[in-house]
Amino acid sequence: MRRIILGCVMLASMTWAKNVPAANDALYQKECASCHFGYQPALLNASGWQKVMGNLQDHFGTDASLSQKEHDAILTYVTQNAGNSKLTQGNTTMRISQSPYFIKEHRRIPERLIDQPEVKSLSQCAACHTKAEQGDYSERTIVIPNYGRWE
């Protein structure tokens, strides 16, 4: 019995390590995920989200400004569901791709696989993580365009 429980706990923690809750907020989907991949709130820590939401007029070079009401509702959603794990630890920026864990996990991918038109940059999660929309970033779901599985 103990072994089963231990097994379950291990399995759960393994799944947890590469999975985040899906971004299931309707307003977030409409206002954010209509222009870019709907990054799950848990991929960035609360201070990162505050930085993002503090300057939507210049959102990575694009005007993504919202009405005050929409802004406040989305700020609440992302900060209440912000990341607080090794995924986001030590990231003092507003870029998910600057998290030390993120950098470590992507360090072996050749530039040419990132630069290619089908991917463009490491910001395009769903280009390779086939279940990224659901928050599943496990290795078995990775298929890199013009390369294949990454396991």
Partner: protein, 138 residues
């Protein structure tokens, strides 16, 4: 018989012409008033000028040359593509996408954002009215 045929073809033409819904008409009226206040010689919005605003290239917010068609593409009935994020954009032409240009708040939001993206400033009432007049007929 001739008369009936004439009437039928007239109504077909009327059906083909796109029209704004009531809230959008009210918004266009506001823009019209504003445009007139800014320039007494204003005599109505113009789709041709709107087309030129939509297709002209400009140094945008990202300090790169772009136009509205960079993402929305030249064929507004087709799907566009956000060049920054690779995300598809539903057709902008109301004839291909009935939801377009129906919600004033959405329209205002995207005019504000996209004028800033492409022209690195907000659009004037005249420019916004011209662009909307161009788009409604697509």
């Amino acid at each position: 018989m001739k008369k009936i045929f004439l009437m039928l073809s007239c109504s077909a033409v009327m059906l083909l012409a796109q029209e704004f819904n009531a809230p959008m008409k009210a918004y266009l009226n506001e823009l019209e008033k504003e445009a007139k206040a800014q320039n007494a010689a204003f005599n109505g919005f113009d789709a041709k000028r709107g087309e030129s605003i939509f297709t002209s290239k400009y140094i945008g917010k990202k300090a790169q040359e772009m136009s509205c068609t960079t993402c929305h593409k030249s064929d507004l009935k087709a799907t566009g593509l956000n060049v920054n994020t690779n995300k598809t954009i539903a057709p902008l032409a109301p004839s291909a996408n009935a939801q377009r240009l129906t919600d004033v708040e959405e329209v205002q939001k995207w005019l504000r954002r996209n004028f800033n993206d492409v022209y690195n400033r907000e659009g004037s009432a005249l420019e916004k009215g011209d662009v909307l007049t161009y788009l409604i007929n697509q």
